[in-house]
């Protein structure tokens, strides 16, 4: 129970960071990092997969409320929540016995770096392509995906570092 309270606390903190700070960095233009997705990476891996996807959808919908663009983050987050257990089961011996969040402690730093890179890439690709909703300026969209992805990845790495040393 206290684990869930802690999780909700972290989610609210992430949401505030995202909405109040990162969504207001208008001078960055092309780059729009998303760090609230850490909440999906931190979901307990032992939860049933359908529940993970529903929680992912809920997290995405909350984010959509703040950006006045329905469905976009929901689509990205559901895909992340679906892929995460698949990716983890690829690197862990026995996923059924694994418990808790996906962190560098539970799956190792190398695996964490690889899995998070894929998850960030997939999430950002879906979000920016749905936002554009056209392939007319695909070069621009691709640049947005790559630059924002790098930024988000660096921030997530920073958060993971902070968590480890907290």
């Amino acid at each position: 129970m206290s684990n869930w309270l802690k999780y909700i606390g972290i989610f609210i903190m992430l949401l505030f960071l995202q909405v109040l700070l990162l969504d207001n960095l208008h001078w960055l233009g092309l780059v729009h990092p998303f760090i609230y997705i850490w909440a999906i990476i931190l979901l307990p891996i032992e939860l049933p997969r359908w529940l993970q996807m529903l929680i992912g959808a809920a997290i995405g919908m909350v984010m959509d409320l703040f950006t006045h663009a329905p469905g976009i983050h929901m689509a990205g987050c559901v895909m992340m929540a679906y892929l995460r257990p698949l990716l983890v089961s690829g690197v862990v011996q026995d996923i059924d016995r694994m418990k808790g969040a996906v962190t560098s402690d539970t799956i190792g730093m190398g695996n964490w770096l690889r899995i998070v890179a894929i998850l960030v890439g997939v999430h950002h690709a879906i979000v920016f392509m749905l936002e554009a909703f056209t392939f007319a300026h695909f070069g621009y969209t691709l640049l947005q995906i790559i630059l924002s992805g790098i930024f988000s990845y660096a921030l997530l790495l920073m958060l993971e570092y902070l968590r480890k040393n907290a």
């Binding site: 909405v19 529903l54 959808a57 329905p70 469905g71 929901m74 679906y82 936002e131």
Partner: protein, 295 residues
């Protein structure tokens, strides 16, 4: 049958994924409907309240530049006021002036005892608009469908489809409202087409913005025979009740036409700079219901 059930159980997670993605996709496509739904609920109020709290803190850091902007706007208004005052004196001293003009003015004059509510003032014109001052408390400018959140809502008389103007020109159109807040689709929103005309010859055209340059938009539907040059001003057409005619939209910054094309490619530098936009006015057209009932 048993096999089918087994198959469904085996792929249940994948089916859930597809189901949820389809729902998300429907939300994306029917964006506006969902937004209306959310706007009427509490959710919009919560998100806007958080944005307002954020703005209340950060706005202190912008006080100096905001002040400078308002002073500049004030100076413009003073100048305009002087000009109009001069014109009135001119008219009054003109003996040939038709009598009914003066009558119209007096009938429109407000009763001295009548107090004007502090956040609304009226301008006599052929189309009556009330101005509701508002503050931008959140905005985006790096997306295809940008938005502004204003600190005025249903309680202040704001309804969807009202125009919003800033000190330099038009800003956007109110999309949805909650009790205390309004979400505006700004000119830099790809779903918005603004009916405009070329200031010098009244030729009608449509303004449409494309990602990513927030300072420039395109003017569409200007045929080859039309006289248009760099530096021409573009204003609102007045063809809808959203904006009165003649509000500044932007200035032509580039004109080109391909060999054999029948329409110009025109680049407009927008009048409003959305990066520094803070104070705006929401335009409330007083005869809207009447207009809607006959149109």
């Amino acid at each position: 049958m048993h096999n089918l059930l087994q198959l469904i159980v085996r792929f249940s997670n994948f089916l859930l994924l597809v189901g949820l993605e389809v729902v998300a996709f429907i939300f994306v496509i029917r964006g506006n409907m969902y937004q209306q739904m959310v706007a009427n609920g509490a959710a919009n109020a919560v998100t806007a309240s958080i944005q307002l709290a954020n703005d209340n803190v950060t706005s202190y850091f912008r006080l100096r530049s905001d002040n400078a902007q308002l002073l500049e706007h004030n100076a413009q208004l003073l100048q305009e006021n002087n000009l109009l005052r001069a014109r009135i004196t001119q008219n009054e001293s003109d003996p040939s002036r038709p009598k009914h003009v003066n009558d119209t003015i007096t009938t429109r004059k407000r009763d001295d005892n009548e107090t004007i509510t502090d956040n609304t003032f009226y301008l006599p014109s052929d189309r009556d608009y009330a101005f509701i001052p508002a503050r931008v408390i959140a905005f985006s400018n790096d997306r295809h469908h940008n938005y502004l959140t204003l600190n005025k809502g249903e309680r202040d008389g704001v309804t969807p489809d009202m125009g919003v103007i800033g000190k330099d020109g038009i800003v956007g159109v109110v999309q949805s409202v909650s009790t205390h807040f309004a979400v505006v689709a700004p000119v830099i929103h790809e779903g918005l087409y603004i009916s405009s005309r070329i200031g010098k010859n009244d030729y009608m055209a449509t303004l449409h913005w494309h990602m990513p340059d927030i300072r420039h938009a395109a003017l569409e539907d200007v045929a080859r025979h039309v006289d248009i040059k760099v530096g021409d001003s573009i204003v609102t057409s007045g063809m809808s009740a959203i904006f009165p005619a003649g509000m500044p939209v932007g200035v032509v910054s580039d004109v080109s036409i391909g060999e054999g094309d029948s329409y110009y490619d025109i680049d407009i530098e927008l009048a409003t700079d959305f990066r520094s936009l803070r104070a705006v006015h929401i335009l409330k057209y007083n005869h809207r219901a009447e207009l809607d009932s006959i149109q």
